[in-house]
């Protein structure tokens, strides 16, 4: 194995981006196969490298997705359900922001822009999403501490299992930060497409608050 790593130092580093289990099972064989391809006098080295490099990104994406999917299947139901519920709760924010931006600020003249409704989709729903997902995260940590005797930090950073909860909680917190951290919701919700195109001006607007 060592001499293959020495022979292909860059490729063996790239192989580290595969999921660990896949690397352990197939990493050495992939290096050996590459060596076999290059040692074959009938093969042109440039063609071998081109084939290997072109094949790499698709393969790595596929393997990462496949291992993520396999991990999700082992996730407890409450993690999946809470994450899906959280996604539904933050979805109106993105939906209304896009609709408002692409429909000449149509929302601003509708019922949805009245204070109570505005508070609901801007503040209440994302807050519920954050609370539910953090609660599920805490439940996971407690469960891991009690059953697997894992430390709280280890359970919390088990990203393969907890990423849906963490992702939704961060999205929810991001929405709340934009609204409460800066009085700058108008910078983002006015016309999101234009504002994304003029990211620098949007950022200046957010900083001004």
């Amino acid at each position: 194995m060592d001499h293959l790593i020495k022979r292909f130092p860059h490729y063996s580093k790239l192989l580290r981006l595969y999921p660990v289990a896949y690397q352990k099972e197939y990493g050495e064989q992939m290096l050996q196969t590459l060596a076999d391809m290059l040692d074959d006098p009938h093969e042109k080295p440039a063609a071998v490298w081109a084939r290997t490099i072109l094949d790499y990104p698709i393969s790595i994406m596929y393997q990462q997705l496949s291992y993520t999917e396999a991990n999700m299947q082992h996730n407890p139901q409450y993690i999946k359900r809470t994450a899906v519920l959280g996604a539904w709760l933050v979805a109106p924010f993105f939906l209304f922001v896009v609709v408002n931006g692409t429909n000449n600020h149509w929302l601003e003249h509708s019922m949805l822009w009245h204070t109570n409704f505005l508070l609901t989709w801007l503040v209440l729903l994302p807050s519920i999403a954050v609370i539910l997902n953090l609660a599920a995260l805490l439940r996971w940590v407690r469960q891991q501490r009690n059953t697997a005797h894992a430390s709280a930090w280890k359970a919390l950073t088990d990203i393969r299992r907890t990423w849906p909860l963490i992702a939704i909680a961060l999205i929810g917190l991001g929405i709340l930060a934009v609204i409460f951290g800066h009085d700058s919701v108008h910078c983002v919700t006015g016309n999101p497409i234009r504002e994304l195109r003029n990211a620098h001006q949007t950022w200046q607007c957010v900083q001004r608050g």
Binding site: E28, T33, T52, L54, Y56, S59, I60, E69, Q73
Partner: protein, 132 residues
């Protein structure tokens, strides 16, 4: 089970589940290449390229990704093999893999027969009169 019990993750799972009705090209090519004898990775690549007249050229990622799927489905297995290089691992068809390959070949045989009957193969293509 009610509709409420189905989450988005279940739907994704169903959508991404491998379709067992027909094998993808690379999967079929690897099973076909293993039908002659057990092979290691590079031998498989060469045989697949040979069988497909050079049309299917695999890289290491595609090859071992497919080998992983085939092993998970128990269609091929790793086998002990006396070799000059112990890093090379050899794979062979399982009984299930052989049955799967036979089923696939039967399908292709039937398709080729139908194509011949319909004069769709090779130079006969010129005989087709297109109608609107």
């Amino acid at each position: 089970m009610s509709i409420d019990d189905i989450s988005v993750f279940d739907i994704i799972e169903i959508m991404t589940k491998r379709n067992n009705s027909l094998l993808p090209q690379v999967t079929f090519s690897i099973l076909f290449a293993l039908s002659l004898k057990p092979r290691h990775g590079y031998e498989l690549m060469q045989q697949v390229a040979h069988d497909s007249n050079g049309k299917v050229q695999l890289g290491p990622g595609a090859l071992y990704g497919t080998i992983k799927l085939l092993r998970e489905d128990n269609l091929i297995e790793e086998m002990p093999f006396e070799s000059d290089n112990e890093r090379r691992r050899y794979y062979r068809l399982t009984r299930k893999g052989l049955n799967r390959l036979n089923a696939e070949l039967e399908y292709f045989e039937n398709t080729v027969r139908l194509a011949q009957e319909r004069r769709l193969l090779g130079s006969n293509m010129g005989d087709i009169i297109w109608t609107t």
